[in-house]
């Protein structure tokens, strides 16, 4: 049985800045407590910005080809792309809207077209990144947002099964290879989720510093990560390899219907590369 489109619109609305009207949504969704402004900022502004392009793009940055591909999807539907076409709230709102059109359409051929559009949106622009993203939120954030993330993953997984979403997606086919040791862009590639299979937040890096006993330096994530590696390559790579292993497990445990092959493969490749680097660094340490 298909889920009400309202579920997705409501889930999307909750990654918008807090508003008194969120109380109604929270209650209807059965989420614990509510999101205050501080928690919202921590999750959606500082740690895990909810834009597809960050998780699907080759550089792990906002905008670029991934965002343009999603804007093109809006245009293909004869819709004007919003200012931020790849924002999760916009995509979930669009998903809900397509479902409503489908359910309201009496003419079978047109109904099928709406369904095809919804299936494409789900497979290409939601399932490609939201499940690992939601896992990162669930792992990072306190109760309200963790519950929101789990509900979102469950809802998308249910839709994936309902619509039999295909596993292949253009976004992921075009992603450059996994991080390769020795490349100039190695650290950047580690921080690009679609390439590495990992989602490393600022909070993750701070945790890594704590767990390895290294000193975290203030700066953007690539700078922080480089400084950790510079301080103690063996410890840093060892911690990163463990993170990659953890992500591999998370991807492997994706709900039925959620295609996680790309993510698991990339996490595994990254784990191996980091493990090699860790061993090499250990040898260098023993030699020295």
């Amino acid at each position: 049985m298909a889920l009400s489109p309202e579920l997705f619109r409501a889930l999307g609305a909750l990654c918008e800045p807090p508003d008194p009207a969120h109380a109604r949504l929270t209650e209807a969704l059965g989420l614990p407590g509510g999101a205050d402004a501080e928690a919202h900022t921590a999750v959606f502004v500082l740690q895990l910005v909810p834009y597809a392009s960050v998780y699907l793009g080759p550089d792990g940055m906002l905008g670029g080809r991934a965002a343009e591909r999603i804007a093109g999807f809006w245009r293909a539907l004869r819709l004007r792309p919003p200012a931020e076409p790849d924002h999760l709230a916009a995509l979930l709102g669009l998903y809900a809207s397509l479902a409503e059109h489908e359910y309201a359409e009496a003419e079978p051929a047109r109904r099928l077209m709406w369904r095809h559009a919804r299936r494409t949106l789900l497979a290409e622009h939601l399932l490609t990144w939201v499940p690992p993203y939601a896992q990162a939120v669930a792992a990072t954030a306190p109760g309200f947002h963790a519950a929101w993330a789990r509900l979102l993953t469950g809802a998308l997984a249910a839709e994936a099964q309902e619509l039999a979403a295909p596993p292949s997606a253009a976004h992921l086919r075009d992603v450059p290879g996994p991080p390769r040791p020795g490349d100039e862009t190695f650290v950047r590639a580690l921080l690009a989720p679609a390439r590495s299979g990992l989602i490393l937040t600022r909070a993750d890096l701070a945790r890594g510093a704590r767990e390895t006993g290294l000193g975290p330096r203030a700066g953007e994530r690539a700078f922080v990560l480089r400084s950790l590696i510079d301080q103690d390559p063996a410890a840093a790579f060892g911690w990163l390899a463990a993170e990659a292993a953890g992500w591999r497990k998370r991807h492997d445990s994706a709900p039925p219907g959620v295609p996680a092959g790309h993510w698991a493969d990339r996490a595994e490749s990254t784990r191996r590369a980091l493990t090699d680097l860790h061993h090499a660094a250990m040898e260098m340490t023993h030699v020295s």
């Binding site: 049985m1 889920l3 309202e6 009207a21 209807a28 792309p81 924002h87 509900l151």
Partner: protein, 972 residues
């Protein structure tokens, strides 16, 4: 933990419950919905912080903007403590404007607080036009005016009562007032505005406006500067930009580099008047390459009628018609169009290919621009719509719809019958095919002795300033033999009001009631304008029964004014007028605005009572709360609808498939104006047209189909123009004398509002002058540099202004916006909009008039501290005074483009100087009049005008009969 389905169902239920309470479920600003507005449930007590973090609590009350015809939704923020309006923003509940506004909407606040606005009825104290005024009571003004109107009606002089309107801003209220008086006294501005374009559309469809679905189009073709100042500017512009954002192609024909042209994918700057030649070259390309929609043409064009009329005796097959169609337009090659327009043939070919690729998603629009500028301009819109008709892009998604299908005019509580009289001052016999009143010829008709006026209302209209030949208007208005009484219904001072007997202050957009509906997308909606302070007080539990009680000073609104005036014309009901203005619930009492609109919303707006009931409101309460209601969206191709079997009982077909039925019509709730095709000889009414064996609703034309061939034009004296064609303009290069250039005066400034802006200070600061656009290639030989003074000489005079040397205008063409050049005569001690009007010396010697600018605007002290901060002095030049009237002989549209000479200003010239010879103006009028083919010589049936054509305030059928022509003297 509940399951997903249960959670999802719970969310749906919560949303439905919330929406049923009239509240907003999803918050703004949100990407999930367009909801960056205060939620509806907080409209009674909305809290905002100002820049100093002071809290302001407001009631949000909807109304509609009155600063152009778009009627965009506004939300007035009424301060709960002071009960004054703090600001205006967009109304998210309005389906047309969708919460967005242009600069003119929020500037309504300037009009409310204008320190120079008229706050009480005024009566002239000296001679008319002398500029001295005394305050009078409403009662005195009403009694005087009512007595004169009553005397005219009872004295058998109903045609001496005339109401002259600019922007109606409503759908038929005042026409019905005039109908209730039994006078054919409606006079509009339309023949200086859009009647040319209307004629082109009307001859095709029987409906006089287009409704392009820009948002759904793949190719948008605009013959206008639509994105900055077009009709329905904001609602259409936002949809054009929506389409562009998703990849649609925008084509713009504009001789000037307008803001619209800068957004185009294809911009061409054709020789003015050549637009139809280009359109026909595109049409030829579609036909020659077989890109037209053959099935659409076969099913919906009146090609059988054309073949029967023009090719009798030949085989009447569609294939034969197609061959003829190709031959008809064979001469319109890209090279021909290039020679006429000055646009390269290769560029026209590219545009033609773009149009050909649009299929049924071609939206097109022309409203003023070329259709309003040129002799034969009505053929521009007719040729433009030809492209839609060739591609089948008529009433399709992304195509152009007839406006009546996207408009809803609710049936009111009273519907007076047709007047039984015909007014030759507005509908002269020389122009039987004009779609609108020959309003701008009125001074000449009066001077010729064709009639006189006992009472003349100018209402939100300023013919002295807006019309061509304004000084002939001054001559007529100052002659009390020609105009017995002139009452100016206006919120602000204007150049026509200076020559009135009474100035009656009427409210601006937030101070009056109106209901209206406009074609802005493929849907139907109504908007409700209301006095926002009246509605705010009602929310607080007060009862307001007279809008003057909440408006500034003694400012009134027209609904209540007309009702009161009608009662005073017919106090005992003996004239049969009063009954149309009486309460239905309380017979013998005056109809109130609450009852008028309450009845309309309750009985004539499908779906509104149900929507209101769902929120526990009455329909009137719903409209007072939200200001707009969408009746229907996705209307689609109405012409394809099958006629119900019950209507076809006893129906018969004519030779071309027009179906006539004896079944009487059932009056519906939507009284949107459309043409009224004639019944057949047995009196059966046309109900549809047979298409491939099925009777479909079709179009309101005599044939029921799209009239490629207009039998009306052929039979009424213009057979050579019965098909879409190209008429060379009066400013065609072959018609210009050596040294003459074409002056384009038809463009607006995006932030101005004709004369209604008056002291809208924000708008005046943005735009306050109108220099002459001139190309460097034209300026250099004259020795003219940027900012130099130039003299522009027309047929009847000249004006002096500054040059703006720019490559944004075609060489050989100059341009000046008509949106500036306000003035006030020196010596007028009272009134005048001091932020926007120059003080001038206006002098007359014989037929020669001169105007010299004494001073521009300057800072002044008032209740508004901003008036001391006025930094501009220039307010532009009033060029329209120097234009002769140039009525198109078929459409009646004034052909605005002027043949002029441009010279460097001489030693005696000063900025703003105007010189006009009204004797020359009258001679020009006579010359253009000679182009006409009048009904007495060309009517095929003894009537003044084809009855089926649309006409404001349509008289009864008998009034259409031509009068016996008198042996001498004027026609009556």
């Amino acid at each position: 933990m509940p399951g997903l389905e249960e959670i999802a169902a719970r969310v749906s239920a919560a949303r439905q419950d919330t929406a049923a309470r009239g509240e907003t479920f999803y918050p703004g600003a949100s990407r999930v919905h367009l909801a960056a507005f205060p939620p509806k449930e907080r409209w009674d007590d909305w809290v905002e912080l100002d820049a100093r973090r002071r809290e302001h609590r407001s009631m949000l009350v909807p109304t509609t903007c009155f600063n152009c015809e778009s009627a965009c939704g506004l939300l007035a923020y009424v301060d709960r403590e002071t009960l004054t309006v703090r600001k205006f923003e967009g109304n998210p509940e309005h389906p047309g404007s969708r919460g967005r506004n242009c600069a003119k909407g929020p500037a309504t606040l300037n009009q409310v607080t204008d320190p120079d606005r008229i706050l009480a009825p005024l009566k002239r104290a000296g001679a008319r036009g002398e500029g001295r005024w005394t305050q009078v009571s409403w009662d005195e003004a009403l009694d005087d005016i009512a007595a004169r109107i009553r005397a005219a009606i009872t004295g058998g002089r109903p045609n001496e009562v005339m109401y002259h309107v600019g922007r109606p801003g409503e759908d038929g209220f005042t026409e019905r007032v005039l109908a209730s008086w039994g006078v054919d006294g409606h006079n509009s501005h339309t023949n200086v505005c859009s009647s040319g374009a209307r004629a082109g559309y009307h001859f095709w469809t029987g409906i006089d406006r287009p409704s392009p679905d820009h948002a759904g189009a793949d190719v948008i073709l605009l013959i206008s500067s639509h994105l900055e100042a077009g009709h329905y500017f904001n609602p259409h512009a936002q949809r054009v930009m929506d389409a562009k954002a998703r990849g649609a192609t925008l084509i713009v024909f504009d001789t000037r580099l307008s803001n619209t042209a800068t957004h185009a994918d294809h911009w061409i700057a054709p020789q003015p008047g050549s637009e139809a030649a280009i359109l026909l070259a595109i049409a030829r390309h579609l036909i020659a390459t077989g890109r037209h929609d053959r099935e659409f043409v076969r099913r919906w064009w009146n090609w059988r009628e054309y073949l029967a009329a023009e090719h009798p005796g030949e085989e009447a097959t569609f294939e034969r018609f197609e061959r003829i169609l190709g031959e008809l337009y064979a001469e319109y090659t890209f090279e021909f169009a290039a020679a006429e327009s000055g646009v390269a043939a290769s560029v026209i070919a590219r545009i033609a290919e773009a149009v050909a690729g649009a299929g049924t998603r071609l939206s097109t629009h022309n409203w003023r621009s070329a259709a309003a500028g040129n002799l034969g301009g009505w053929q521009v819109s007719r040729c433009l719509f030809l492209l839609n008709c060739l591609l089948g892009a008529v009433a399709t998604e992304g195509g152009t719809h007839p406006n009546a299908w996207n408009k809803f005019v609710p049936r009111p509580i009273h519907m007076p019958g047709h007047p039984t009289t015909w007014n030759e001052l507005t509908w002269p016999v020389e122009y039987p095919l004009a779609l609108n009143e020959l309003s701008f010829l009125l001074p000449h008709f009066l001077k010729e002795g064709r009639g006189r006026l006992e009472v003349y209302f100018s209402r939100v209209y300023n013919p002295v300033w807006t019309n061509p030949d304004g000084l002939s208007w001054v001559e007529a208005l100052t002659d009390t033999d020609l105009v017995g009484l002139h009452a100016a219904l206006t919120p602000t001072w204007n150049e026509t009001a200076y020559f009135a007997d009474y100035i009656l202050p009427m409210g601006v957009g937030s101070e009056r009631h109106d209901v209206h509906s406009y074609e802005q997308y493929d849907g139907q909606w109504i908007g409700f304008r209301q006095p926002v302070l009246r509605a705010a007080r009602a929310r607080l539990g007060e009862t307001v029964t007279d809008t003057r009680d909440v408006n500034p000073g003694q400012v009134w609104e027209e609904n209540e004014f007309w009702t009161e005036l009608s009662w005073r014309i017919d106090p005992d009901g003996s004239l049969g007028i009063r009954r149309h203005h009486e309460s239905a619930a309380r017979p013998g009492e005056k109809l109130t605005v609450d009852e008028y609109y309450g009845h309309m919303f309750e009985h004539s707006v499908p779906g509104l009572p149900e929507a209101a009931a769902a929120e526990g409101r009455t329909p009137l309460e719903y409209m007072r709360r939200y200001g707009a209601f969408e009746i229907r969206s996705g209307v689609g191709p109405v012409h394809e609808e099958e006629v119900p079997a019950g209507v076809l009982d006893g129906a018969v077909d004519d030779a071309f498939g027009r179906v006539y039925s004896p079944v009487p019509p059932v009056p519906g709730p939507n009284i949107v104006p459309v043409a009224t095709p004639e019944p057949d000889a047995e009196g059966r009414r046309p109900v549809g047209v047979r298409v491939d064996g099925v009777v479909r609703r079709g179009f309101p034309t005599p044939s029921g189909r799209l009239e490629f061939y207009s039998r009306t034009l052929a039979e009424w004296g213009w057979p050579e123009h019965a098909l879409p064609g190209y008429i060379r303009s009066h400013v065609h290069p072959s018609a210009l004398e050596p040294g003459q250039k074409v002056l384009i005066s038809t463009f607006r400034l995006p932030t101005q509002i004709h004369t209604r802006g008056a002291n809208a200070k924000w708008l005046n600061e943005l735009a306050h002058t109108n220099p002459l656009w001139i190309h460097p290639d034209d300026a250099a030989p004259l020795g003219v540099a940027m900012g130099d003074l130039v003299r522009v000489e027309t047929e009847i005079g000249h004006f002096v202004l500054k040059a703006w040397v720019t490559e944004g205008i075609r060489p050989g063409v100059v341009a000046c916006s008509h949106h500036m050049g306000r003035w006030k005569p020196a010596g007028h001690t009272d009134g005048g909009p001091r932020q926007v009007a120059a003080t001038v010396d206006l002098a007359k010697a014989g037929d020669r008039w001169s105007m010299h600018r004494r001073r521009g605007v300057e800072p002044y002290g008032s209740a508004d501290p901003d008036t001391r901060r006025i930094w501009w002095g220039d307010v532009g030049v009033h060029q329209n005074l120097t234009f002769p009237v140039q009525p198109d002989p078929i459409s009646g549209q004034h052909c605005w483009h002027q043949a002029v000479r441009v010279r460097p200003a001489g030693p005696g010239d000063a900025y703003g100087d105007i010189a006009v010879d009204t004797a020359k103006a009258h001679a020009a009028y006579r010359r253009w009049l000679a182009r006409t083919r009048d009904a007495t010589a060309h009517s095929p049936d003894g009537t003044r005008r084809p009855y089926w054509l649309m006409r404001p305030l349509k008289p009864s059928r008998d009034a259409y009969l031509l009068a016996e022509e008198p042996a001498d003297g004027p026609l009556t």
